[in-house]
Symmetry: C2
Subunit: 273 residues, 2 copies
């Protein structure tokens, strides 16, 4: 999917919501455990109930890996279901991969070609030759971890490295990588005030912003500091939406939570004019 | 496995060799492609031919993920084969994972409990709460990326961050993490001269050193700068061993290459006294 197509979807749906499919057998409604594939049954119900309210889904691969082969099968069925029924939706493999050149190419092929994701999150620690193999895929997007939403982000990411914080150095350096136009960045909603500085470095890039809702980030602040003339934001909520209820009404409740965020986003889009 | 058990194995086998199982269907002998599970057939033959010459195996998960479900099945069969037939061998999931707290716990469970690996490589970018969930598993080892063997390592890892290079800051900070005694570190053989500085920070930790052989690192230099009184090194070779031949004799040739390294290691151990 091209960035332009993503922007069109945002205007059409009046939403820049990304729903995180962090599907955990201990948190889904217990009656679903009787299903042959409870992970996929849950995801399908969530997608069916919310696809008109969001522009992206983001399964975190850890949740699927934790269940071994069955988990990977459920992830495969989920991305197939999305690509078949909702090809206009942007899909993100939240995998945080990154390795030396040839090995990163393996990961890129696995997620872009085998699974058919539109994008993948990538950890920057290993630098240029660990990131560029992902960037080589046209109309696929590499979402680089810049400033993450967790407490540990202050260990290294915000530390000063030759005059700039590490996360700023990561973003600036990534702009010199081949095919840098395929980059987006992860910036946690819990650190919304940093978004202003980040926008100075990458005024046009899309930012994937986790941490609204359960983690405490504010949508209003994220928009205030992070929105650009093309919106430039995908705001993610996972637990706050998908685990809104543990009962038979879980998909309905998820849709209600997604609708709340979508309406707030609609207001922000109106304000953008 | 405890660190003490690993040290005992090193003395017993007179080897601190780790063999990287980066198994690639395009590089294995073509006749193996007729096997039902070529990835496992290759790994089994390599293990059968080399297990007496090394103390560790390190499958890089990217190579298995690239083949989807079949790849994960082959990885599962490989670790099961090792744990059943060679439980004295240290196993490393070279997965370079790392995510926010709950999610890192998922990865830890997947690799330590579901697969039964002794250790996993972890990327440090997200800091404390992304690493500590791995450290919570006793007698399991978290091998933190410190200074990697690739060119991109110079992008961030060697950059100066408040008076010290980022990789030094990563190592120093990780020592403050809960259960830091379960930490080891990745330090590339291509940057052997840095090992002296690293030994000043972590005199006793084990270092996993990739990059000898195909990537150009020197075993002699690695030992000179990196060895401590308990050896403290696992030196990895992947392509240089497992792809020594593309013919029917591939396992034999792999054993010859492993033997060459083992003999050099034996000399280094003698020099240690």
């Amino acid at each position: 999917m091209t960035t332009q197509q993503l922007i069109e979807q945002i205007y059409k749906k009046q939403s820049f919501l990304c729903i995180g499919l962090d599907t955990d057998l201990e948190k889904i409604p217990p009656y679903l455990l009787q299903e042959k594939d409870p992970l996929f049954a849950f995801n399908k119900a969530i997608i069916d109930a919310t696809h008109h309210l969001c522009v992206a889904y983001k399964p975190n691969t850890a949740f699927y890996e934790a269940y071994g082969i069955k988990g990977w099968q459920a992830l495969g069925k989920t991305i197939d279901y999305l690509n078949t029924n909702h090809p206009e939706i942007f899909t993100i493999a939240d995998a945080k991969r990154g390795d030396i050149g040839n090995t990163s190419t393996r990961y890129a092929k696995a997620f872009f070609e085998e699974f058919g994701f539109d994008s993948i999150t990538v950890a920057p620690y290993m630098g240029k030759d660990s990131v560029e193999p992902f960037l080589a895929f046209e109309n696929k997007h590499t979402i680089l971890l810049a400033l993450t939403s967790n407490e540990g982000a202050y260990d290294f990411q915000t530390q000063i490295l030759e005059g700039a914080a590490l996360y700023e150095k990561v973003i600036k350096t990534s702009l010199t990588y081949k095919n840098a136009h395929n980059l987006m960045y992860v910036v946690g909603a819990t650190k919304a005030s940093y978004l202003g500085d980040i926008r100075k470095i990458v005024p046009e890039s899309f930012l994937l912003v986790p941490g609204v809702g359960a983690q405490g980030g504010s949508l209003k602040e994220v928009c205030h500091y992070g929105m650009n003339q093309d919106i430039g934001l995908l705001v993610n909520s996972s637990r706050g939406i998908i685990y809104a209820s543990k009962n038979q009404d879980f998909a309905l409740k998820a849709a209600e939570k997604a609708k709340e965020l979508q309406l707030q986003m609609q207001d922000e889009l109106k304000a953008l004019g």
